[in-house]
């Protein structure tokens, strides 16, 4: 658990760095730091996710010159609500249900982020919102598949 937390602490700044350099320009509508936070909500304890979201929000605010997005407030609030949603959905406990529960949390986080940002810039471009949601959704599950160890390693005690 501790090792995983350290790994995630290293991963989040790297994801923020990806957002800043934008290797694919504005053709990829994904905020990697946001995806990292969702991953944290679904895999970590609340206090850890909350602290990480606040620090990440402050860093994002620092790198957004001339704009007042208050990510340092938005991210912790979204993390708390998503964590509540996750706890409620995960109580069902069935493994087959887990993927849908995760999808609901990811969808909630992304849609809340889209609505918050669209309201702040007073602009709700349908194509941008749609592309952001679809691309982020798939990128999240791709990232999760890459970050989590394969099942055969877990079963053989390598995890």
């Amino acid at each position: 658990m501790k090792r995983k937390s350290i790994k995630l602490s290293i991963l989040l700044p790297l994801l923020l760095f990806l957002d800043i350099i934008r290797p694919l320009g504005y053709s990829l509508h994904v905020e990697f730091a946001c995806l990292g936070l969702i991953f944290m909500v679904l895999n970590e304890k609340l206090w850890f996710s909350l602290a990480a979201s606040f620090i990440l929000g402050c860093l994002e605010d620092g790198f957004s010159p001339g704009s007042s997005h208050f990510y340092c407030l938005e991210f912790p609030i979204l993390v708390v609500i998503s964590y509540g949603l996750r706890s409620y959905l995960f109580l069902a406990g069935k493994k087959a249900y887990l993927f849908f529960a995760k999808s609901i949390v990811v969808t909630f986080f992304l849609i809340a982020h889209i609505i918050y940002n669209s309201l702040l810039v007073s602009f709700a471009g349908f194509s941008l919102c749609f592309l952001f949601f679809i691309q982020s959704f798939f990128c999240y599950f791709l990232m999760e598949a890459l970050l989590e160890k394969p099942s055969f390693m877990k079963s053989s005690g390598y995890a």
Partner: protein, 241 residues
């Protein structure tokens, strides 16, 4: 000449003996020649692998050199274009590079590595290497400045359309829109959208009119603009001084 088989074989043996004796006398030099050739022709597996490695290294070095030359060539071309722009329009430019983008997808902003120390002013226009309008400077620090790209929703600028029209350009992520266009203005699809620079006595290209539409209840036309600047992969950009 017909010879019986036994006699023929005798001749052959005698001839072979004579040749053998001749060769025996030259054995030393012959051996030396054969050894020399064999050294050159046969390569041991170790020598072979080291030779391959050496060739691979050489190949990689050459490939890198080619890549470097290509990059330099492209850079040279871009700088040449910027120089032409400076000469043609008589505007002084400051070369700069983008060091970071805004992490939010709802903003089109970037940080440049040129600031007030290089003479950058707030409100200065920024061009790409082809001379297309990219955005304007919204904040200046000593060593860096903040660029607002033309497709940011906060971007506003009065522009000229075609020959007669004048309107307000506003960014909208995918491109830009022109607001407050009257019915009287003669605007056609494909007209160039320009920004005036009275201090330099010239205009800069932003894009061209892509679509014109108007709803029944609207007072003004809504004009969509296709921007000339390419998606943000700028290698080098130029700030108008």
């Amino acid at each position: 000449m017909y010879l019986p088989y036994r006699i023929k074989s005798k001749y052959v043996i005698v001839a072979a003996l004579i040749v053998g004796a001749c060769l025996f006398s030259f054995r030393g030099p012959l051996e030396a020649v054969i050894v020399m050739f064999s050294r050159q022709l046969t390569i041991s597996p170790q020598a072979k692998s080291s030779q391959i490695r050496k060739l691979q290294e050489e190949n990689l070095a050459l490939k890198l050199q080619i890549a470097k030359c290509t990059h330099l060539e492209q850079d040279n071309k871009r700088l040449q274009e910027a120089l032409d722009l400076e000469k043609d329009k008589g505007i002084e430019l400051i070369g700069s590079e983008i060091i970071a983008f805004s992490p939010s997808d709802w903003h089109r902003q970037a940080l440049l590595n040129a600031g007030s120390a290089k003479g950058v002013n707030e409100g200065a226009f920024v061009l790409d290497q082809e001379g297309n309008f990219v955005g304007k400077i919204i904040g200046v620090k000593e060593n860096f400045s903040e660029l607002l790209l033309v497709n940011d929703p906060d971007f506003n600028l009065p522009v000229i359309i075609g020959a007669k029209g004048v309107g307000m350009l506003k960014g909208d992520f995918s491109g830009a829109k022109i607001l407050y266009i009257d019915n009287d203005d003669e605007i056609n699809v494909g007209d160039h959208v320009l920004v005036n620079m009275p201090s330099h006595g010239t205009t800069l290209k932003i894009g061209s009119v892509k679509k014109i539409q108007k709803n029944n209840n609207d007072l003004f036309w809504e004009v969509d603009v296709g921007l000339f600047m390419r998606t943000v992969y700028f290698k080098r950009i130029f700030i108008v001084k």
